[in-house]
């Protein structure tokens, strides 16, 4: 559905997107992850035909974004990061305007606007001026205008920013429902969001792709970590721990009272666990807690991004 090939975008001398390639299948939800200034918005602006790439090509729904831009634009819904809306319009007038300009026949305009207001929970504010509604509702109007007329491809730049937890849940459900019928690209900083929503993630940093994978694979690939709480002499425990085979490193962790906390990075999970157990029995330390730590996408993210910089 979306094919991006060797995409490069330069702002003057500055290269914001550097030779990026990826494809998105029909019905897939692709997460776009990266720190500030990574180039997420820039890629999305190219895909939505706001500006052309410096080099490379982008094909959306079978049409080239640069040569056949009108055909691409007929098939996409776009939520820009800043959610720019006409402040002087009422919510329902605005959505009717967007529906009409995206080609809905005059008879259908009202129905389509009403449907999308319903889907995005905007019925309460439909008669308010956009300048007078809250930030969360603004965000919803932005999503609603992207969804109006059921586009094949949705490009959402940080869709859940500024929403309260209940709204975030609702919007995520809405996006989830879109999968299958629509192809979605969304960018975000919120990592759990990616594991919840996306079938696949692309992590980019400084305009380059750092990793492409399913969210759960990214998690298993990275090293396992274990939290230990042990009573006893700190130095001794630390020394003994570092001798255990199958362990990559040991870090001190805050703990209360006599208990000492450690975070152990395991190289080989089984060997490390058995080694630790044997070590504790041998030294007669008192084990208070021992559990594997959930690898968060934050860790992977930071690891991938810092690895790139090193």
């Amino acid at each position: 559905m979306i094919e991006v090939e060797n995409l490069t975008k330069e702002y003057g001398e500055f290269r914001a997107v550097d030779n990026i390639s990826f494809t998105v299948e029909k019905g897939e939800i692709l997460g776009f992850l990266g720190p500030n200034g990574a180039g997420k918005t820039t890629v999305m602006r190219i895909l939505t035909c706001f500006f052309p790439p410096t080099k490379g090509k982008a094909i959306v729904a079978g049409y080239n974004c640069f040569e056949d831009s009108l055909n691409v634009r007929r098939r996409i819904g776009y939520l820009p990061q800043r959610v720019p809306l006409y402040e002087d319009m009422k919510v329902n007038d605005y959505l009717r305007f967007v529906a009409a300009i995206k080609g809905a026949p005059a008879k259908e305009v009202n129905r389509k606007a009403a449907k999308v207001m319903d889907d995005c929970g905007l019925s309460d504010v439909s008669n308010k001026l956009i300048s007078a509604i809250s930030g969360g509702y603004r965000q919803r109007v932005g999503i609603a205008q992207a969804l109006v007329n059921d586009p094949e491809v949705l490009i959402l730049d940080e869709p859940t920013v500024g929403l309260d937890p209940k709204q975030i849940k609702e919007i995520r459900n809405l996006i989830k429902e879109l999968a299958g019928r629509h192809t979605v690209i969304l960018s975000t900083h919120i990592l759990p969001e990616v594991s919840i929503l996306c079938g696949r993630v692309i992590i980019i940093n400084k305009g380059k792709v750092v990793a492409v994978d399913r969210p759960e694979n990214l998690a298993t690939e990275s090293a396992q970590r274990m939290l230990l709480r042990i009573n006893g002499n700190v130095q001794m425990i630390e020394q003994e721990l570092s001798r255990v085979s199958g362990i990559q490193g040991v870090e001190r962790e805050q703990a209360s009272g006599d208990t000492n906390g450690f975070i152990v990075v395991l190289e080989d999970e089984k060997q490390g666990r058995q080694g630790i157990q044997a070590m504790i029995e041998r030294n007669r330390f008192e084990l208070v807690e021992m559990r594997t730590m959930e690898v968060s996408l934050e860790d992977i993210f930071i690891k991938l991004v810092t690895k790139e910089e090193a």
Partner: protein
């Protein structure tokens, strides 16, 4: 070009004008200024006419007693200049505001051609300016009711005003496409409109041929002959070229936005 899309943009822009404060201020200022000149011109004319009844010398100066020459022609000239002062205030927001607030990002990714955007915005502003010109028709109605002016020069004078206004909007739309700052847009518009107004002032300083050319370039010269009742195809062509040129430049300027 797609008529429906032009209509949609036009409609949205008009609603936005109607809900904005600026438009009302501009219309009120326009009516105050033109009304003031209208009052002065008619008051002077009636005093002169009154004196002419007792002064045979004055009565022989037909020029002074011709309402077309002493009221209508200067009135159209003045309305034209006030129009040039007012249009940049109406055009400045057309594209600059969209760039400032970022709405241009959605506008340019909607499935419509740039031409539709440009024409829709242009026509919306034209509707406002036509309304302003229409409001000054009251002055002419007063003149026709209480005096005996020739009617043809009034009609052609209005044609001239409409063309002048339409040209100023085209230029203003172009300057609005150059920047995201409305004040900058208005300033460039003022500068360019004054240039096209005053360019004929240097006509006496250069050779006759060059002088005629400079006068031809001047945006006001053409309304002059029209308010005398003469419609020359040269004048119409001048305004039409002016309008098309700046609409075209606006379009190019939007296209280069896409390139950055």
């Amino acid at each position: 070009m797609n008529i429906r899309n032009v209509g949609l943009i036009l409609n949205r822009e008009l609603k936005s004008y109607v809900s904005s404060f600026t438009v009302y201020i501009v219309i009120i200022m326009f009516l105050l200024m033109t009304g003031y000149f209208f009052y002065n011109l008619t008051a002077t004319f009636s005093i002169v006419s009154y004196q002419a009844q007792s002064d045979p010398m004055l009565a022989k100066q037909y020029q002074l007693l011709n309402i077309n020459e002493t009221v209508i022609r200067p009135l159209f000239g003045t309305i034209g200049i006030i129009l040039l002062l007012m249009t940049p205030l109406l055009t400045m927001r057309l594209l600059a505001e969209e760039k400032k607030t970022g709405t241009i990002e959605l506008l340019l990714t909607f499935p419509i051609n740039d031409v539709d955007v440009v024409l829709g915005k242009y026509l919306a502003c034209l509707v406002v300016v036509l309304t302003m010109i229409l409001l000054t028709v009251t002055y002419s109605i007063l003149l026709v009711t209480f005096g005996e002016p020739e009617v043809v020069p009034i009609g052609t004078g209005y044609l001239g005003l409409v063309l002048l206004g339409a040209s100023a909007i085209s230029l203003g739309l172009f300057t609005s496409s150059l920047t995201e700052n409305q004040i900058v847009s208005a300033s460039i518009s003022f500068a360019m409109l004054f240039f096209f107004w005053l360019i004929s002032y240097s006509a006496p300083l250069v050779s006759a041929g060059m002088g005629r050319f400079l006068s031809y370039l001047s945006i006001n010269e053409h309304i002059e002959s029209m308010s005398k009742g003469v419609v020359d195809s040269e004048d119409i062509i001048y305004y039409l070229c002016f309008i098309v040129l700046f609409l075209f430049l606006t379009l190019r300027s939007l296209e280069t936005k896409r390139w950055r």
